[in-house]
Symmetry: C2
Subunit: 224 residues, 2 copies
DNA sequence: TCGCTGTTCAAACCGTTGCTTGAATGTCGA
DNA sequence: TCGACATTCAAGCAACGGTTTGAACAGCGA
């Protein structure tokens, strides 16, 4: 065998290695898992419930992700807690989302199908929110399950869990509302903003979710 | 059908969309194509030759990448020139490499298999090279095919194509040598550094390749 | 128009993978 | 030690995807 063919084989093997990272993200259910674990660690059963998948299948997917090095796990008593392996994975996932949003044919239809028409939902970015918060112009609303709120939220944010959106109706009416949730493709904040609009209030969503906020070293408050 | 199931379906569809980006990178040959196109545009035939693949198969892969929005194409006479769709794709690819290098089990063996033992090859980063260049301490060597050198290279770099490494033997001996090529997983620079070592010279490789350098807004010279 | 070249298409083969089902493993509390 | 519960394993099916082969389809130059 010539030297160039052995190099060829080694090169193919190396790039097959890179490809296992791609393959790990090549299934929709696994993509959902990554997005979910970006929120914090979960047990297999928690993941399965949130994805509407069988526990066996979920475990299988988690193993695939673990083999590719994207997630790690840790036994804690009878449960096994899974989490993203590192912040690199978070950035990889953000890069995937960015490319999909910018380049993927038909992506807008998919996003609208899940999130609803988004042109009616005003978006504000990190800096603007910090700015207007400091001036006391806005009310921050965290639209995620209480457990996630407790694990960390934006300072001053009020918890309005997605299954209790009626709490929005009693919010003090003196300020505009900025809602945020898990990330740019999380429905909760959109639902909240639309409900507030129907009440005749001014409301918008934060561009980022909590993981992006944390990743950008935004201030975080913990607890109840 | 209940409202939550329609949402479930729409969510799955959205994440299947994200997954098509992952699927595009889920084959080793396509990963090689992305890395190659990061160097600049190529025709199908050029890509096929560099990958040692049939033209038909290469065309097939390029179509897959195009469907996912990662590459674009443009007819120019009898050729079709393919290129990466945007800088987002470059960053996505960089994120994949980073995760693989940091997290993927067995990656080091794969890398060593292709590139050889790397602990003997000293690495310098962008800032240090700029620094030492400014002080006239180093000789820069561009170890890529002449066409790529002509399309853009680091200012002051001498072209030493990978198939003419013997040119290294006549380099002025008054300075250390820094070699670079296509990227962190490109063999050319390593080959050059090893050859210089055998000549008893001090040599190292630049951490980045030209695409990363350009992406970081490093200075570029054209022609020559 | 014809032939040449670069590119794409279509079909077929075969290995891989996502999901389901049912059983096995492992850990904790009684 | 036993039973309950969370997780993993194994087998099987249907669908998908990478590669090969051979043919079809442009543009271009004569």
């Amino acid at each position: 065998m010539t030297d160039t063919t052995t190099r060829r084989i080694a090169k193919d093997a190396l790039y097959d290695g890179f490809a296992t990272i791609g393959r790990a993200l090549a299934a929709g259910r696994r993509a959902e898992i990554v997005e979910l674990l970006a929120q914090g660690e979960r047990s297999v059963e928690q993941v399965a419930r949130e994805l509407d998948q069988s526990v066996a299948n979920t475990s299988h997917h988690l193993r695939t992700l673990a083999r590719a090095g994207l997630v790690g796990s840790q036994r804690s008593g009878t449960h096994v807690r899974y989490r993203l392996a590192s912040d690199d994975v978070l950035e990889l996932w953000a890069a995937v989302r960015r490319v999909a949003a910018a380049q993927l044919e038909g992506f807008d239809e998919l996003a609208t199908g899940y999130l609803g028409a988004r042109d009616e939902v005003e978006v504000v970015d990190r800096d603007e929110v910090l700015d207007r918060l400091a001036r006391g112009e806005v009310l921050l609303v965290d639209v995620r399950p209480v457990a996630e709120y407790a694990a960390g939220h934006l300072p001053g944010a009020i918890s309005v869990p997605p299954d209790r959106l009626e709490l929005l109706d009693d919010l003090p009416a003196d300020r505009d509302v900025v809602a945020y949730c898990r990330g740019p493709y999380c429905v909760y904040a959109d639902d909240a903003v639309r409900r507030l609009h129907r009440l005749g209030r001014r409301a918008m969503r934060l561009e980022d979710g909590l993981p992006e906020w944390r990743r950008a070293n935004g201030p975080i408050a913990v607890g109840g």
